[in-house]
């Protein structure tokens, strides 16, 4: 396959960025999108040019590190996949592919396609945990978990924190991420003691990091590689309302 990659190049946060077009000769349809970028970078290194910086880690769709917007869609044209699971067969020979970093004020750009997503870590620190004593594993049956609650909690726990919801939302809102993390813990008995505090603290942290609010457009669920539905955002709003009405925290 012969394709042209039109990619955002920016040296560092403070410098001005621009799009640069690179022809990529050695791509084939079975390569993942990141492997195609590897081919591009090998060529650049051979020519003594600076390679295109991008994030990746597991390359199997579970770590959520690979962040970029491909032809205007977070994680590229296919649904329910990450960038590392996007294959070149989704593109046509001769295509020009525009690759941009995730854009959000809360995700400041570091270099080229790499953005700083530590805002998500700080939201988790605000309440995305449960307080238990460490030590020997407790008796498994001492806390019964209803099946529907564990199923739903596991659906929420599928969130890999990639940030595609933020990249795609017109408000750069992190609501889907935060909702998934809150639901994951609030649905389980283990998360109940801190349920109210968690909902309030994580939503406050989300606002403080500079993410927008939810307008219920649904573009986050459409690009989510794990197919997490926005009904979890409704659940988050409910938890927030209940916590606010109790006014204890």
């Amino acid at each position: 396959m012969k394709i042209t990659v039109r990619v955002w190049r920016q040296k560092k946060a403070q410098s001005a960025g621009r799009f640069v077009e690179y022809p990529v000769e050695g791509a084939n349809p079975d390569m993942s999108f990141l492997e195609m970028l590897d081919v591009l970078n090998e060529g650049l290194v051979k020519k003594g040019e600076e390679p295109v910086h991008f994030d990746s880690d597991c390359r199997e769709g579970i770590c959520g590190t690979c962040s970029c917007v491909i032809n205007g869609e977070a994680h590229g044209p296919e649904s329910r996949v990450t960038t590392c699971q996007t294959y070149m067969r989704s593109f046509k020979d001769g295509d020009t592919i525009t690759v941009e970093p995730f854009r959000a004020k809360a995700f400041p750009l570091i270099k080229d396609l790499v953005v700083d997503r530590t805002a998500f870590d700080r939201i988790i620190q605000a309440g995305g945990f449960i307080s238990v004593n460490t030590g020997a594993a407790p008796e498994a049956n001492s806390i019964p978990v209803p099946k529907h609650a564990s199923d739903l909690s596991m659906d929420a726990a599928a969130c890999i924190g990639c940030g595609a919801c933020v990249a795609s939302c017109k408000n750069a809102s992190a609501s889907l991420f935060v909702a998934a993390k809150i639901a994951h813990l609030n649905l389980l008995p283990h998360g109940k003691p801190e349920k109210d505090r968690r909902a309030l603290a994580m939503i406050q942290a989300m606002d403080a990091e500079g993410f927008g609010g939810c307008s219920v457009t649904g573009s986050c669920e459409a690009v989510c590689p794990k197919g997490i539905p926005i009904s979890f955002i409704s659940r988050m709003n409910r938890d927030y309302m209940v916590a606010a009405l109790k006014m204890r925290e």
């Binding site: 869609e73 525009t98 854009r103 809102s173 606002d207 609010g213 669920e221 927030y240």
Partner: protein
């Protein structure tokens, strides 16, 4: 410690304000539509209904005040959310494909603003009679305020009828997303209900549009005369 103010001015808190005020306004438009449809029952029915509303000042004024407060809160909070949300992207995308998000969900502020213009005109037209002072003098055989003839006279002007249809069309548009969004905001649109709520919102929006629009259309087509 969270103060009440801090809780209602968070992003979710503001949405709750939108959702609650939106629900009150939605409930009002449903009742208003049902009231309007009495025009099809004839002059006596709707004039009687209008008299019933206007002679109960103890009900009329609290309702008006609650509605006015909701409208003001809805607009201010909506404007504040819209401005805040628009500022969060930073650098714009060069190529942006819209996935998943409907047109109506992305243009709530625009549809809302036109609805606001319509509401102002509508009140000046039919409630205060500022645009047409002669309307307020109309009385029927029982000496009642002749709402039936006001409607006929009001929609005799095809521009007024056209703007009315446009206004209620945008109201339906706003609510085709609004009803779904308010369920989401108020924590009702959970897994099993989501699809049903989304479909119901669209059906409800159509019913409201057709119910409201049927009155001026019937006058223009002289079905009601």
């Amino acid at each position: 410690m969270n103060s009440f103010w801090k809780l209602v001015t968070s992003s979710v808190g503001k949405k709750l304000v939108m959702g609650i005020t939106g629900t009150v306004l939605f409930a009002f438009v449903v009742v208003h539509m049902i009231g309007n449809l009495q025009v099809f029952l004839g002059r006596d029915a709707i004039n009687h209904y209008a008299e019933f509303l206007q002679t109960n000042a103890e009900l009329l004024w609290p309702t008006r005040i609650i509605l006015a407060v909701c409208v003001v809160l809805h607009i201010f909070t909506g404007a504040s959310l819209t401005l805040e949300n628009r500022s969060k992207r930073g650098v714009a995308y060069d190529v942006k494909k819209i996935v998943g998000a409907s047109l109506v969900s992305r243009t709530m502020f625009i549809s809302g603003s036109i609805i606001l213009c319509f509401i102002v005109y509508h009140i000046l037209h039919f409630t205060t009679g500022t645009t047409n002072p002669e309307f307020m003098a109309l009385k029927d055989a029982h000496g009642r305020h002749d709402v039936y003839r006001i409607i006929l006279a009001g929609f005799a002007n095809p521009w007024a009828a056209g703007f009315y249809v446009l206004g209620v069309g945008l109201l339906g548009f706003h609510l085709s997303h609004g009803v779904r969004a308010l369920c989401e905001t108020l924590g009702l649109r959970l897994e099993n209900y989501a699809a049903c709520i989304d479909r119901t919102a669209i059906v409800v929006a159509w019913i409201l549009f057709l119910g409201f629009a049927s009155v001026p259309v019937a006058v223009v087509l002289q079905v009601v005369r």
